[in-house]
Symmetry: C2
Amino acid sequence: MQVWKDYQAQHQNRFLDELLALLRIPSVSADTRHNEDTKTCAAAVKQRLIEAGADKVEVCPTAGHPIVYGEKIIDAALPTVLVYGHYDVQPPDPLDLWHSGPFEPVIKEGNIYARGSADDKGQFYMHVKAFEIMMQTNTLPCNIKFMIEGEEEVGSANLGIFLKENKERLKADVVLISDTSMLSMENPSIDTGLRGLAYMEVEVTGPNRDLHSGVYGGAVANPATILCQMIASLHDANNHITIPGFYDQVAALDATERAALNQAPFDEAAYKKDLGVNELWGEKGYTTIERTGIRPTLEVNGIWGGYTGEGSKTVLPSKAAAKISMRLVPNQDWIQISELFKAHFEKIAPACVQVKVTAHHGGSPYVTPIDHVAFKAASQAIQATFGKAPIPVRGGGSIPIVALFEKELGLKTILMGFGLDSDNLHSPNEKYGLENYYKGIETIPYFHQYFAEMSKK
Amino acid sequence: MQVWKDYQAQHQNRFLDELLALLRIPSVSADTRHNEDTKTCAAAVKQRLIEAGADKVEVCPTAGHPIVYGEKIIDAALPTVLVYGHYDVQPPDPLDLWHSGPFEPVIKEGNIYARGSADDKGQFYMHVKAFEIMMQTNTLPCNIKFMIEGEEEVGSANLGIFLKENKERLKADVVLISDTSMLSMENPSIDTGLRGLAYMEVEVTGPNRDLHSGVYGGAVANPATILCQMIASLHDANNHITIPGFYDQVAALDATERAALNQAPFDEAAYKKDLGVNELWGEKGYTTIERTGIRPTLEVNGIWGGYTGEGSKTVLPSKAAAKISMRLVPNQDWIQISELFKAHFEKIAPACVQVKVTAHHGGSPYVTPIDHVAFKAASQAIQATFGKAPIPVRGGGSIPIVALFEKELGLKTILMGFGLDSDNLHSPNEKYGLENYYKGIETIPYFHQYFAEMSKK
């Protein structure tokens, strides 16, 4: 609608400044040293929701970082959209690889560079601004509820409890989330599925103290070596995961579904060039699109042990450890997979070491029904602003809470993300395109309009 | 001699205080942040040599940390002993495992706890004090030269140059070093051989940046996983090292030699209990004594990559790295082994990653001739103070410069160490027994006396 366009054009600079201000708050949920910053960020989100026109805005305490809630109920008879987002961000390290401070946003070549720019501050804030536009132009076509949490990057441990305790307040017809990517601005897409996650930490202990590698080397098991051997054994020669039972629940796609999936444009040469790798890697028998979309994976997210400082130290370390996470696909259950991993890892540990396996967090995979009215509304909204119907794709990432919404609130979720895979999520120099930000703000009101209209029928 | 005993008894407390003062200087050679401390330590060593009665004492600059030299020439016709030691120490980390500050020495249950107490400040300083005793009692039976360096823990990179440039000044009949261990105070021993060392650092690079493990996981090689697979492949099922040609030069011992070696008292139950391990580990077909003495080994001294901080981060790291060192035995050449390692590691790297292999430092193995007059003098000296002839054993550690002395100065080396394997060398809570310290000071003058006498014959 023209009034939307006009209002956005008039206030676009402020929309950007407000986002930059949010990005300056280092709300790193994984690092307790930033607990004050997450509080500050939650308070800022509350303030912005109030300014945008939301009612009953509240910073809701949890056992961890707080959840910000706000709503606008214009007519109980109208459909209600529950907008979810998260104001917490990933840790910024390795810091030395950032071209500019992770929390000092800079605009370069049409992109906003800052931790959280795409994941998820830049994306959830589009909804706050789209809401402002509809409020200020008196065009809000449905009820909106906002739930912006602060623990998405650490597993949303307290969100489930919040959902259980606020079923009435959170009553809605659908959940709308912008926390995913599109194939490109030329090929808009919507994630129709997400992978689940099981995040583990393992610790291998050999001798009860660091030893001199000359005096004891060769006679005592080196936990770093053993850990390497154990991790190496988790994939076979075809890069299949060797954990017994790991694939038992995996929903296999038939040839037609796989063919459809592989319709999505994919330029392998450009993909390799962008990543700076000579060869891709992955499970034998599947394409890259399948490997990142419909197949489960196991990745070492971090490994450490022994002397990692400057120079050399001839030590036989007492301990070595690793963070290992698995991406899951329908119908794998993250708790069962975590247990399978733990049992297997403990089983393959040789008697010369002791292992400790801890489950960090996880979430189940999710698939969006493309015949859902809200999915159709999202498609039409994108069609309206991108001039092209979005391609349905399977996202490789995980937003564990999506499965939670279905379980606790009985709500389906629409993943209308405006980011790009090249946004360096979880990496140094995370970015979010200005065009993506503005286009998102432009698209969201259409979603609400179409969703309200279609829901009537 | 009684005069020695009396003098030592009279000055023993000062001997200890002087050592504690040295131990308070954090002369960590591997860490550039301690460069000032190593300078301070060198100056302190110089001062102590002067006080003990040495002439021409000098702090000799090198491209790295300085070497302290001093000498006492009483008669050019008499034999000359070159005493070698090192004032630099290993990094103290992991700091949190120390019961007391690594550089705040404390005496507990008859032990001096501090980094460098046994390796090597406590041991080289015995020679300074033994020298003082002989000087003060006018009983010095031969010429003595002291060469105390500051780079032993980082590979003595500049010592070779110093030897080359100071052949005249370093002229001697034998090198005497106390930087090794005894089996126990009840079973004194002398190392008749040392293992060589080749210390490497490897870096595996996958994608050009850290990636989101959900978006890219399963499609791009994870350098941490690949590094684990590569390290795992360096040992076979029998824990033999798989690097082609690695064992080609290894001097095999015949049954008699192996039997003699295995005469040394070894209590496996006590050994396991001390280390807190349920099972030992090592190369199939060899005993623990052989594995640590006459067989080469490959150990991961450190490994790191990805997110190692608090909590969880779903990252697919761009790089993973490890420090890997090999202990070598006669007649392996450390440069050749370093090259074999590099070639092999580069060869086994899959095309989906890039590897960088750097050689840190190394040294060749060494065997002491037990028929050498100085070896006999050392045996008798120990017999005189311990009441027992020492058992000849093969030490597992490496003092690369021992081979260097033979090459550059044509001198044999006697390894008359007074430490214990339980001294936590290179580990938290390094210690050195007061009794070991005092007994060493008591023993050393006998070595000089017997060596001077036997050399006459």
